[in-house]
Symmetry: C2
Subunit: 408 residues, 2 copies
């Protein structure tokens, strides 16, 4: 039983390692790519209503299978009409497989060829997750794009660990494909798309072999997993480009857990179509927002009497109505409206950046757009770094990046 034809279409030249403008047709709507997916770990993009997400232009969000599996549970969500209805979000949802969070959040994890057994970080109860169950949970949630269960090794890992992770990920992809075909026949309807995940750590040849093996199984999309977890960024981008050479040009490529605004621009230039990251939302809750001129730390004393907006180039609700001084006050006073307004701004900024990226690709001027954006952003970041006394703030920011979901 072949997987269904890819619902992904490119409107620009199908470059293997260059910028691409595409559309991904999903059960709950069409997603314009390159796309950034805000992270809604527990069935909510933290602090935001679904209508605010629509207002800032989110076309698809990510939800974490691990968290929803533990609470409220997939059957509870299914009984209430699926995740879309449960959370009041009518546009597409991509769900991860839960594997990454099991390894990073759960207790007493036992990994075997069969799957993974762990203890819930909430109540200590034993939970089994295997490739089949991971898909069943995502089907129960009503996901538009499901991710196959994979093995994401820690960074750094030995060659033996990396190889083992790739082999298990491949074996699980075979099982996943067979399980999905059975479920689709049993349900007598199409299910969400299922994307496979390329592992291999920082071993470029291994990642390419892993990608080639997955491509043999013919999935409608492929993800780069286990990257930007500690390796140098130049290495990340080299690994993405090398793997993209192996992936089919006519399928979406999803770089999981990435990244900062400059990372997105760079990765688009290497042929990536989809992103998710907790950076805009988590950093916002901690009082750091993204702007065209780099990050702004809201609590800083320099904003105390500043009546201007967070980002003079931004037209979001926060920037139209509130000053840096007021936002600083909200954060110092511990008011929920602070994280709300900061999150709204940073997501609006990310999604506006993605719109600009898409427009520039369509107009054949991505190279210029990319160069101009990176120059402005990096100049701002450099100025901020010079001003910052000591490295504590930067260390804190660096720690935030990753695929680990939003936490609780």
């Amino acid at each position: 039983m072949p997987a269904p034809a890819s619902p992904f279409t490119l409107s620009t030249e199908p470059l293997a390692t260059g910028p691409r403008r595409g559309r991904l047709a999903l059960a709950h709507g069409v997603v314009e790519t390159p796309v950034f997916m805000p992270v809604g770990t527990q069935g909510t993009v933290k602090t935001m209503t679904p209508h605010e997400l629509e207002d800032v232009g989110a076309e698809i969000i990510l939800a974490n299978t691990y968290h929803l599996l533990l609470r409220p549970g997939p059957e509870a969500v299914r009984a209430l009409g699926g995740l879309h209805r449960f959370m009041g979000w009518s546009r597409p949802i991509l769900t991860d497989s839960g594997g990454y969070q099991v390894l990073s959040l759960a207790d007493r994890v036992t990994l075997s060829d069969r799957g993974v057994r762990f203890r819930s970080h909430l109540d200590g109860s034993a939970v089994d997750l295997d490739p089949e169950r991971a898909l069943d949970v995502q089907v129960a949630l009503g996901s538009d794009v499901m991710m196959l269960l994979d093995v994401c090794p820690p960074f750094p890992s030995s060659p033996k660990t990396l190889l083992s992770a790739v082999e298990r990920t491949q074996a699980w992809a075979v099982r996943s494909r067979a399980h999905l075909a059975r479920e689709r026949d049993a349900a007598e309807r199409e299910l969400g798309l299922a994307f496979a995940i390329v592992q291999g750590g920082t071993d470029s040849a291994l990642r390419r072999r892993a990608a080639a093996a997955l491509v043999e199984l013919d999935f409608p999309g492929y993800a780069h997993g286990g990257l930007m977890v500690g390796e140098a960024k130049n290495e990340t981008f080299a690994l993405v480009a090398a793997t993209n050479e192996v992936l089919p040009v006519d399928r979406p490529r999803y770089l999981m857990g990435v990244g900062a605004p400059d990372d997105l621009v760079r990765a688009v230039g290497l042929g990536v179509d989809m992103f998710d990251c907790v950076l805009p939302t988590r950093n916002a809750r901690n009082g750091t927002v993204f702007t065209r001129r780099g990050k702004v730390v809201i609590k800083n004393a320099e904003w105390k009497g500043d009546g201007g907006p967070l980002d003079p180039d931004c037209g979001c609700y926060t920037c139209r109505h509130f000053s840096r001084a007021y936002l600083r006050h909200l954060f110092h006073a511990g008011e929920i409206l602070g994280p709300r307004l900061a999150t709204l701004h940073s997501l609006a900024f990310y999604l506006e950046l993605m719109r600009e990226i898409r427009e520039s690709i369509a107009a054949g001027r991505f190279a210029t757009m990319s160069r101009d954006f990176l120059a402005g952003y990096e100049a701002g970041e450099a100025a901020r770094s010079r001003e910052a006394k000591g490295g504590a703030a930067r260390a804190g920011l660096g720690r935030d990046q990753g695929q680990e979901g939003e936490g609780v």
Copy 2:
């Protein structure tokens, strides 16, 4: 120098101790009374944007002088264009005097005839507040309705303490009136209205004497202070009615820090025009919302699979889009969206109730409206009490009521 004529007009019979339909014309707009004022302690009604407040029908909000005095400070707010501009709220603001919070929140409070000296609960710094300074701070904030500094004694207090509090409050009212006249002349413009506060604890005769003495000074509005802080509710209402007999019928009466929905309905029937209370907002953040059928505790297991809205009779954003099961999930998961949606509902419910009250008074059918509402609300509360195992939940709710502001 006489105080300006009251900008308060009644469109129904000017009853001393019965329901009244009025309009209070303030610098930032007209307020329809009876009115409920959501509490925005630190320059934000917790979790809400000013535009959401407008959407649920808030016409005036309360801000706490004590909190804003300490952070960000009145001069900072004035430099940024005043509190309205600072927080993005264009409708009227009533500010309290700070006195109540000094006595309940500050450290090392020393009360004298001159004023009150205390240590900030934030950083321990020494702060002086006296009747003149309390008004200066409120003028700096740009308040539409200022409250005079008063002495609010704890409950219960000895007759001697109550008498001393009333005498000081009266002496400070005299000073306040003189100070305001000087400031108005110096500024060569009208300032916000200034309301005086009646104290006297549960001594009805003392409260009436205190009210009569304040009325001699001719203020544009009067407040009942220091009530519903521990005395029986029937006693509260009796004290309010007895004092309202003494207050001029053509001035607004404000019952500070009250209350639950049934309290509002009862007090309106006794001639109260204005209310503020943290109950709808604070309880909502703790997961208890108000409905026409009494309170709903969102975390309760009974809502686990409940796809219905919080309040079937409510048309607010929360009730239109989200189920009890989803709200329960948000609270169990510790998600900020839970307090947001719960706050929005409870404020919408309070403000809709006030609209119904106003309409029923105008139509001459308040008695019927009041009876029907109280019957439904109290039946719901009675059913909830029977179902609740043990008294912990009720004890927790009882503690929430009061004038102490929203906390940090």
